[in-house]
């Protein structure tokens, strides 16, 4: 069960369009505060505050890497699942692109029926 206090913090954190956009962005992979701030035309300080709220809610984990702060989605397993979904998205894109290209190059490919 999810604890009530955790849900409260999570809902507060999610009740902001910028923070939801940050989570969507992190679903694609980790990013620095600077990279997260850029599409929102926001100062680093402003984005840091948003990330802090997400971190307090357990939705985001941050880690200092050199001079920058790297952010990623908050729980390992969620992170794993998103990484695998992204992996498969690329794989299906590759497969469907390949199939389409093959079919366009081999328009007369005869199906291998039971009696051929």
């Amino acid at each position: 069960m999810v604890q009530q206090a955790t849900l409260d913090r999570m809902f507060s954190a999610l009740a902001d369009g910028t923070r939801r956009a940050v989570l969507e962005r992190l679903g694609q992979g980790p990013a620095t505060i600077g990279e997260l701030a850029e599409p929102h035309a926001m100062t680093l300080t402003g984005m840091k505050k948003h990330v802090q709220v997400l971190e307090d809610a357990g939705l985001v984990v941050t880690e200092k890497v050199g001079r920058t702060r790297q952010c990623r989605l908050g729980t390992e397993r969620l992170d794993d699942a998103m990484a695998w979904i992204t992996f498969y998205q690329r794989l299906w894109e590759r497969r469907l692109d390949g199939l389409e290209a093959y079919l366009l190059l081999h328009p007369a490919t005869p199906p291998k029926g039971p009696d051929s």
């Binding site: 999810v2 999610l14 009740a15 498969y88 299906w92 199939l99």
Partner: protein, 152 residues
């Protein structure tokens, strides 16, 4: 093509320029798979595919840029209904040893002289928080947030 990742499942689809029996054959035949899987690659890599297309049979696909960077996908076929539907339980492994088990359902529907292929992949692991959102749906979750905020 459209892709939906708001849930812990993956859906994608594509209209292909050939009838379902042709698409089915090209999609499932191991020799043809080897050709189309890397047909758009600029750098030649490794692709090995073996298929035993029957319920309970397996397809093993191995690919990657080099021998020490190989991905593996082992599908065990659960439903084989040519040229309409193919369901498999699938274990994928990355070069660094991570694995993921999912179920893949492909449907092939005749449409506009070609085939509309739909991919539905489920079984990606979830966490409690994630389950909560899956259960509610994102829209439901946002309704709850509104109600929460209105509570004051």
């Amino acid at each position: 093509m459209s892709t939906d990742t708001t849930d812990l499942e993956l859906r994608t689809s594509r209209q292909l320029p050939a009838p379902p029996d042709v698409v089915w054959d090209v999609y499932t035949d191991a020799e043809k798979q080897k050709v189309w899987f890397s047909i758009l690659d600029e750098e030649p890599g490794i692709v090995r595919i073996e298929t035993d297309l029957r319920v309970g049979g397996r397809q093993t696909a191995v690919w990657g840029p080099s021998e020490d960077q190989l991905f593996t996908e082992v599908q065990t076929f659960v439903e084989v209904d040519p040229p309409h539907r193919l369901v498999s339980d699938t274990v994928a492994s990355t070069p660094d040893g991570q694995t993921m088990t999912t179920r893949i359902t492909l449907t092939f529907t005749a449409r506009d002289g070609g085939t509309f292929v739909e991919v539905h992949q489920t079984g990606f692991p979830s966490v409690e928080v994630r389950d909560f959102f899956v259960e509610m749906g994102w829209q439901g979750a946002f309704d709850r947030i509104e109600a929460y905020l209105a509570r004051g």
